[in-house]
Amino acid sequence: MHALLADSTLTGGLLTLAQSDFPHALSTLTLNHYLFVSAAMFALGIIGFLTRRNLIIMFLCTELMFQAAGLALIAFGRYHLNFDGQSFVIFVLTIAAAEAAMALALVVLLFRRRESLDADLWAELKG
């Protein structure tokens, strides 16, 4: 099971996803590609979170980060040929949904109070 793991290819060179019946053009896609996309998504999420002032967009950015992690999990799960990654993702999705519900509730509440979704209007507490 952990043959793949035991050789340290994960840290080393190029890895091919261990599935032979993928369409040919995609079969050269390796774990690295997925990880790269996932890292890019995560970074974009952080950047978006830091630069956008709209609460909803900021929340979407955190969702992006969650899904980045989800993508990494799926890729790793595929790589390791087990279901742990996939089942993890299902739960991540659940949590993301719960957070979405809360975020929306919070946004509605805050918008009612300030008539604006600008996150930086809330800076009364400081020091």
């Binding site: 840290t11 979170f49 900021m58 980045a68 993890f88 739960f91 949590i95 719960a98 009364e124 507490l125």
Partner: protein, 526 residues
């Protein structure tokens, strides 16, 4: 799998209680609605009763659950009276005076208590976690309810501001540690903590830890720093503690912190304190990371607390600093395993969490028990000036709790801190011990300032405070202060329990060879 169910009976009881509270709290009859608190207390008592007998669970820390869940239940029970009357006071008053009729949509009581119990359920689940997925879900179940509790804890904009900051930064933190979890999974191919530990062990024996795995651990630990309010993820703490009602702040200082530390201990346990030159510390990158975070957290927390005029902010920053103290215990690790409290950093952390939780309730409860003329709870240090003259028992409770937080012998907090000191010394962490000692001295500045305001300074003429209308909160304050003293009689036992709880089932590489149980549903029954 069925045996896992037996381990989570306390959580199941709490969950059932939560369901009951959620429905009962929406009754149109005020008397029925007021049962929420009592039902919650009952549920917690049952949960404690169910937690204590569970002696052995699998995983890296097989005996942690009875102690951890007992502690969570007890501190939860102490938090309950403090949380009494946080929501729905205006609504109940309006209904009683006939100005309003009951509307389920406007009432928050059911949600408030249910969220409290949900959060504690999540916390207990964190303690029994043996899997990354479980750990992630438990941590989120602990945190998500607190976001809402902060937001609805008062009717003012401050708690809403606190809520928005807490939620968004919390989501950021959660995403970060989730990403870390994903990387850990990638490096080891399993989400089971014991198997992860075995895989790490195998890697380290085969020549070195997987880079992705170490990176994942580092990212996860940094994300978890949000839960424990450690540098650099501490930014939210003061604002959120100040904005929320005192009761909720007290909860924030215990519940997410405990969850974070349990998770950190488990992750560190997964990689093991078996690295370094003498095979008794964490892997160098993780060690340096935690070292830097611990030192920075202690200094930042204590230094920022000095300049505050709001007691809540002081307590918030002190809570940051306490996280730094406890990280020292995590770095020290479970020690040589001779079984004494004094060289076991994990036991010290577990014991410290208890002392901190118990003591912390008292400080916030004192604030919650004092009402300013505008109906707000006390916050500024001016509000507790001359408390000794007007409300001596609250002043006494404040004094005891503050001194215990400071680690003054012979109060409970002293023994907590001594454990951290001695375990760090026996682990050879002398520079950290010096930092810890230095910071304990700095902490005296602001703790004694609180004590002095309550005892030695006359009440300000223009600041008029009066007894809050909720006697339960006074009870919480007195209870906490008495616990600071009375728990000393059982301190030895608690220390021994924490040593048992910290029993670390060190991974061995052989475990990695056992086939990973795939989801083989076609397998014949056995």
């Amino acid at each position: 799998m069925t045996d896992k169910l037996a381990l989570v009976w306390p959580e199941i009881w709490l969950f059932v209680t939560t369901c009951v509270v959620m429905v009962v709290g929406l009754s149109p009859d005020l008397r029925v609605r007021k049962l929420c608190g009592w039902i919650s207390a009952l549920g917690l008592v049952v949960a404690i009763g169910a937690a204590v007998p569970v002696a052995h669970a699998g995983g890296l820390f097989p005996s942690i659950t009875p102690y951890a869940k007992g502690m969570i239940g007890v501190v939860g029970l102490m938090l309950l009276p403090l949380l009494a009357g946080t929501v729905d006071r205006d609504l109940d008053a309006a209904i009683e005076s006939g100005k309003a009729t009951f509307s389920a949509l406007r009432s928050n009581r059911a949600e408030f208590y249910a969220f409290f119990l949900f959060s504690l359920t999540g916390l207990m689940l964190t303690a029994s976690a043996d899997d990354l997925i479980w750990l992630f879900l438990a941590l989120e179940l602990t945190s998500l309810p607190t976001y809402i509790m902060v937001t609805i804890s008062t009717r003012g904009t401050r708690s809403q501001e606190a809520g928005v900051k807490y939620f968004f930064l919390g989501a950021l933190g959660a995403a970060i540690f989730l990403y870390g979890f994903a990387l850990i999974y990638g490096a080891t191919g399993t989400t089971d903590l014991a198997e992860i530990a075995a895989a790490f062990r195998a890697q380290s024996e085969a020549g070195g830890l997987n880079t992705i795995g170490v990176a994942g651990l580092a990212v996860a630990l940094i994300g978890l720093c949000f839960k424990i309010a450690a540098v650099p993820m501490h930014m939210y703490a003061a604002d959120v503690y100040q904005g929320a009602a005192s009761g909720v702040s007290a909860m924030l200082a215990f519940v997410p912190k405990t969850a974070g530390f349990l998770a950190i201990i488990m992750l560190c346990g997964a990689v093991g304190w078996t690295h370094g030159a003498t095979h008794d510390s964490l892997p160098a990158p993780i060690y340096i990371l935690l070292w830097v975070i611990a030192a920075a957290t202690m200094f930042t927390g204590n230094l920022l607390a000095i300049r505050q005029s709001s007691v809540k902010r002081i307590l918030a920053y002190s809570s940051v600093a306490h996280s730094g103290y406890m990280l020292v215990g995590v770095i020290a690790g479970p020690g040589s395993g001779h079984g004494t409290f004094w060289d076991n950093g994990i036991a010290a952390v577990l014991f410290y969490l208890l002392t901190y939780g118990v003591t912390n309730v008292g400080t916030f409860a004192v604030l919650a028990s004092i009402q300013k003329p505008n109906g707000e709870e006390a916050d500024d240090i001016a509000d507790i000036r001359g408390l000794h003259g007007t409300r001596p028992h609250l002043a006494g409770a404040m004094l005891l709790c503050v001194l215990s937080l400071l680690g003054m012998p012979p109060l409970l907090g002293f023994f907590g801190k001594v454990g951290l000191f001695t375990s760090a010394i026996s682990a050879g962490e002398i520079p950290l011990v010096i930092v810890l000692g230095l910071n304990s001295a700095i902490a005296a500045f602001y703790y004694l300032r609180i004590a002095r305001a309550a005892y030695l300074e006359p009440a300000d003429e223009h600041v008029e405070t009066r007894a809050g209308p909720i006697p339960q909160r006074v009870f919480a304050a007195v209870l906490s202060a008495s616990a600071v003293v009375l728990l000393l009689t059982v301190a030895q036992m608690l220390m021994e329990r924490s040593v048992t709880a910290s029993g670390y089932h060190a991974p061995h590489a052989g475990m990695a060879d056992t086939p990973h149980e795939a989801l083989d549903l076609t397998r014949a029954d056995d």
